[in-house]
């Protein structure tokens, strides 16, 4: 079986083929979906969880409120790692009961995250310190499979050969090259930055001609430890995928 990039929290979670969600009149669902996809999110998952959340919200006393928050939570859940901070702040306000009638219900917020409402508090607590926290639990330590061979939908034509953690949670560097090099990344390798959380990740090409030895160009981030990155990246010589696992 060919493994493809993806996050363990999505494995085996069915995504229905649903119609575009109908949001409050001042919100353009089509544009939000376009942006979600452009930022690396999965449109089908976004529709699926947002539709589920709207069903819950519309059964509440404020059916047309909180759609902006639910859309952001759903986009985060569908893999837009860049929305994590904003979505988490919105979730905190929902749980604190702040924001009055503008906020969605906690049950709707849980549905937007694909969570059982019973796990919502624990999820928010865990996420404040660990971007990989997932109260329902994951089998094993694997968080995500990232990258992959371009012919199978990935970004790389060669294997990732070296990796190094950054000083930010979920941040890593990966050197991609046909040859491993002996004392570190070989000259001319592609250098990629990985930013990941429990739901999604982004890979940004920093340079396609990295110097030998693993020096990081400006803007690539600061070197850190596995503890700071709260994760580690495992590489296999048989695969173009990189495997993001929890820090032990």
């Amino acid at each position: 079986m060919t493994h493809r990039a993806g996050h363990v929290v999505d494995d085996g979670v069915p995504v229905d083929d649903v119609a575009p969600p109908r949001l409050a009149v001042d919100l353009d669902a089509e544009r939000a979906e376009r942006n979600t996809v452009a930022w690396g999110g999965d449109a089908a998952r976004w529709r699926h969880v947002l539709t589920a959340a709207l069903v819950v919200q519309r059964a509440s006393a404020r059916p047309e409120q909180g759609h902006r928050d639910l859309s952001a939570l759903a986009a985060w859940r569908s893999g837009v790692v860049g929305l994590r901070a904003d979505a988490l702040a919105r979730l905190d306000r929902v749980l604190a009961g702040e924001g009055g009638d503008e906020r969605p219900s906690p049950e709707a917020a849980a549905a937007a995250l694909g969570l059982d409402p019973a796990h919502l508090d624990a999820f928010a607590d865990g996420q404040r310190s660990d971007p990989f926290a997932w109260p329902p639990g994951r089998p094993g330590g694997l968080i995500a499979r990232v990258g992959g061979f371009r012919g199978l939908g990935g970004p790389w034509q060669a294997r990732p050969q070296w990796t190094a953690p950054l000083d930010e949670a979920g941040g890593h560097l990966l050197w991609v090259a046909p040859e491993a090099g002996t004392d570190g990344p070989p000259a001319g390798a592609e250098l990629w930055r990985l930013d990941a959380d429990v739901f999604g990740h982004r890979l940004v090409l920093l340079t396609d001609d990295a110097p030998a030895g693993g020096a990081v160009p400006d803007g690539g981030g600061r070197s850190g430890t596995v503890a700071q990155a709260r994760s580690t990246v495992l590489l296999r010589w048989t695969s173009c995928l990189a495997f993001l696992v929890e820090a032990s």
Partner: protein
Amino acid sequence: MGDRWNRLSQSPTRQVPPGPPHDLTADDLFAEPDDSLAGPEPLDEKLRRAYYWLVNQAVISPFYDVEFSSGSPVSFTLGDAGATLDLPTEQSYSSNVLLPLLTLAVGGKCLLVGGPGRGKTTLAVLMGVLAGSTPADVRRHVQQGQPQLTVSDLVGLPLPRDLVQAASLDEVTVAWRGWLTEPVKIVDEYNRIPTKTQSALLTMVAEGYVESHDQVRSTTPPSGVESWFFTANDDGGGGTFPVIQALRDRMDVTVAALGFNSRFLDELVARVEAGEKPEDHVPAELVLSPDEQSRLRAAVRAVPIPASVRRRVEFFSSHFEFVQHGGRRFEYRTKDTVTTGGGRVPDVVDENTGADLAVDLGAQTVNSLSVRALQTLVGYAKAMAFFRGRAEVGLDDVAAVLPFALRGKLLPNPQHPRFDEGADRELAADAVSWLADLFEQSCRQYTSLGLDGDDPVAELLAQLGRGLDGVDRVEASRRLTAVEARITAIAGAGKLYGRHYDDLVALKYVHQRYTGYLAWLEGGRA
């Protein structure tokens, strides 16, 4: 079902979202995206995505015969007849998909050969759809080669009214056939077309126009880039009509349509059950607009060939022109002299008892490389490098396309002992493997002769290339002496090979230039 066809490779540029990673908000989610940050997709990326869509979704071709490896690939010896299976360390490709795609990129001519039902026409039709035509139009415009095909069938008919009323030919309006200006032109089974019609086809292929009743029509589409795809079930001169040599020579690359791998029958079953054709499902984002086609060709042409690679191609081509007993005057000792004089090159090669046949690569062929063949080789090597995302052409890019660009053009000498005995006998029928091996042998010779570091003829040519400004009589005389010394050194080696022939002709050219310059200097002073 649509999802099955529309699964595309994601390019890295498309996966890099705009802006820093952690600062998106819900307000951004509902804002109009800033398209200025995205930029257009690079054309090499688009070409690669088209390739991967073709091999992963459209055609069932699990063959990876265009191999790239850095270091030594893992190799297995199989059976008792010397078969080996290599597992390349870098991404490798299917020639029967990649070469047609590169043909589309460079605006070339591709001959697809192979038995019936191997997907030759399907591949050509897919190229037409990738160039922006509708599947129905591409299929309608496929020219089916058959023994009754006339020039009028091919190019169009003069209007009967004009034929009756016109006082001169230029008053006759010709109803040109629609396929003539398609960006991708497909001629099926071209070896079944009568000779006269083949000649009309040759004008189109070679000159880019068609003529009928004194009327001329350009076959160039709006993009300025046209590619041709020919199919044939025989590449050995068979068919209803033999293909005229000039038309055969216009085929830039020749690719064999490989057989069906029985392990992929499940995919075939799915297609039969769905009643689908891949050309009806080409994703819109893979289609090249006319502007993209012309930019693509320009970008391919712009890929540089470094001097080190160019020099090895020069060395390779130098082997084949010379034949020791081809003529009397030195410049005429060529295979072309033999052929045009009615002789047989294999017999003349056999007469040369002085050279080592194992070293003399030129002895393996009955002809030499035409300028057109070399231009094709350069063009496709650039396309290969562009496709692989390389900044310049590498030796591996040249090696990858060379067998397909020279197949049917550089012809084996059947009397050479290599094709007659031992483990290499199968190369007589396998032109692609033979040509690949020939280039490999040439590169090995180049290395063993140490030409990378020490190439006196190249230095003399480079010295002349820098110009004669400021070169005085003494310096010109010194250079003349250096040329003569070089010729003396070659003469001292005794045995003469093709590479010496090209060097000696070039040295004579350099000598002539300095002799003329010296005469001018002395005349001016007098």
